[in-house]
C-alpha cells in the first residue's frame, strides 16, 4: 500500500509511467471509464479549494468510481477536535483512497501513517502539493515533448510558493535544465532550495528582478502571484506589483513557442489579454491536473 505525500517519492521512471498513462487516458478515455467501478475516493478538504477538489472528484467519476467527503473543516469531526490520525483510521473503513488537503504542514503524512488505504496529499499549507506538480509536468510534456534542455523561468513569489519549490525539485532530476528565478528581493527563492536542490544537482540558475529582460531566453514561464500580505509595507508592494504582471507588451520579445504556465487561481498577475495568446497554457494545465490525478489514482490502487 502506497501513498503520495511529496513529489520526491516518485522516481523518474514512475513519473514517466504516470505521464504515459495520462496521455493514454487522453487518447482513449473510454478504455478507462470503468476502471474504478466499485471504488470510492474520500476527498477530505480541511480548507477550501476549487480546482483541486473538483479535479479529484471528476477524475474518480471519469474512472467509473464514486466520491465521498467534505469541503471544509467545519463540516467534519475535526471541528469537534478529532485528530488527523483518527480521521484517517475511520475513513479507511469507508473508502478505498483518500485525497487530503489540510492547512497544517505534514497532516497528510500523519494520515498516511495511520490509514490502511492510500493517501494523496492534495496540499498541506505552504509545504507540498505534489499533484499540482504532476499537472505541471504533463503540461510541459505535452507542450515541449521533453523535460531536458529547457530554460525555465519562475516568476513572482518564489519564497512562499510551494508549487515552485516542488516543480524545481522535480525538474532538477533532468539534464540540461536552467532555472531563471525572477522575483522581487523580498520574495527570492529560499536558501535551502538553492543549496539542497538546485546547487546539489549541479543545475545552472540565475536570479533576477527583471521579467522583461529574462523573457527572450525562456522556453517555459511559470507565473505565480505576488501577494500583498507578503510585504512589510504597502509602498513596497505598490512599487513592485506591476513588474510582475504579464501582459502582451512583456511578451513581445518572448520565444514563439514559449509555454506560459500558472498554478491558478490567477488574480491580476497575468492580464486577461494574454489568455488568447496561443502560448498561454494555464487553463490546459488545470485540465492536465485531472488526467494526472486519474493516472495517480490508478497507480495507487494498483489498477492496470
Amino acid at each position: 500500500m502506497r501513498s503520495l505525500i511529496d513529489i520526491k517519492e516518485l522516481s523518474v521512471s514512475e513519473l514517466d509511467s504516470l505521464i504515459n498513462t495520462a496521455l493514454d487516458i487522453i487518447e482513449n478515455p473510454k478504455k478507462y471509464s470503468q476502471k474504478c467501478q466499485g471504488k470510492k475516493i474520500a476527498t477530505l478538504f480541511f480548507e477550501p479549494s476549487t480546482r483541486t477538489r473538483l479535479s479529484f472528484e471528476a477524475a474518480m467519476y471519469e474512472l467509473g468510481g464514486n466520491v465521498l467527503g467534505f469541503s471544509e473543516a467545519q463540516s467534519s469531526s475535526a471541528s469537534k477536535g478529532e485528530s488527523v490520525a483518527d480521521t484517517a483510521k475511520i475513513i479507511s473503513l469507508y473508502a478505498d483512497i483518500i485525497a487530503m488537503r489540510h492547512p497544517k504542514e505534514g497532516a497528510p503524512l500523519v494520515a498516511s501513517m495511520n490509514a490502511s488505504i492510500p493517501v494523496i496529499n492534495a496540499g498541506d499549507g505552504g509545504h507540498n502539493h505534489p499533484t499540482q506538480t504532476l499537472a505541471d509536468l504533463l503540461t510541459i510534456k505535452r507542450k515541449k515533448g521533453r523535460f531536458d534542455n529547457l530554460t525555465v523561468g519562475l516568476c513572482g513569489d518564489l519564497k512562499f510558493g510551494r508549487t515552485v519549490h516542488s516543480l524545481i525539485s522535480a525538474l532538477s532530476r533532468y539534464e540540461g535544465i536552467k532555472f531563471v528565478l525572477i522575483s522581487p528581493e523580498e520574495l527570492k527563492i529560499p536558501g535551502y532550495v538553492k543549496t539542497d536542490v538546485i546547487e546539489k544537482n549541479g543545475i545552472e540558475y540565475v536570479e533576477t528582478t527583471d521579467l522583461a529582460g529574462a523573457m527572450p531566453e525562456l522556453d517555459i514561464l511559470y507565473m505565480t502571484r505576488v501577494q500583498k500580505e507578503r510585504f512589510f509595507n504597502e509602498e513596497d508592494y505598490l512599487r513592485l506589483k506591476d513588474s510582475y504582471i504579464l501582459n502582451p507588451q512583456k511578451l513581445e520579445n518572448a520565444k514563439k513557442d514559449l509555454c506560459i504556465m500558472h498554478p491558478l487561481p490567477r488574480v491580476n498577475e497575468i492580464s486577461v489579454s494574454v489568455d488568447n495568446d496561443p502560448r498561454a497554457c494555464y487553463f490546459e494545465q488545470a485540465l492536465n491536473g485531472k488526467y494526472m490525478r486519474m493516472a495517480l489514482i490508478l497507480m495507487l490502487l494498483g489498477i492496470e
Binding site: 485528530s83 488527523v84 490520525a85 489540510h102 492547512p103 497544517k104 504542514e105 505534514g106 497532516a107 503524512l109 500523519v110 498541506d124 499549507g125 505552504g126 509545504h127 535551502y192 539542497d196
Partner: protein, 138 residues
Amino acid sequence: MNIDSIKDGIVIDHITAGNGMRLYSLLELDKLECTVAIIKNVGSKQMGKKDIIKIDADIELNTDILGYVDPDVTVNIIKEGKIVNKYSVSLPETLKNVISCKNPRCISSCEQELDQIFTLTDKETRTYRCLYCETKAK
C-alpha cells in the same frame, strides 16, 4: 580544582566546550538522585577546551541524544573505579521526542499526542529536519 573520581558510573568525555549544560538538560540528568558533576572548560590537548560530565551511577544513556548534540563525545563506563568500556557515538538517523518543531504551521504543533520526529537530511552539515513539515532543527 578537584572532582571526586567515581567508582561505578559513567564519564562523558570530550564534550565540545559549551555543550555540557545542553546535554545535561536533554539527557534529563537533573532528575537523577545520584551525584552528577558538570565540569566546564577543562583544558584539553586535543580540543583546547572541553566539558566533562560525571554520573555516579550506571544508568542507561540515550545515545541518540549524545550523537545529536555532540557526535565527538566519548563515553567511559566505570566499574570498581576502572574504565571497563569506552565507546564513541554517531549521528542518529532519527530523533524521536528529543527536540520539538518550532514551526507553528506544523501538524505536530497542534496535535500534542504526535511524536516529535526529526530525521538526518545532511550528514556533512548535521542537518535535521522535522519529519512532518521539513523545518530545520535549530
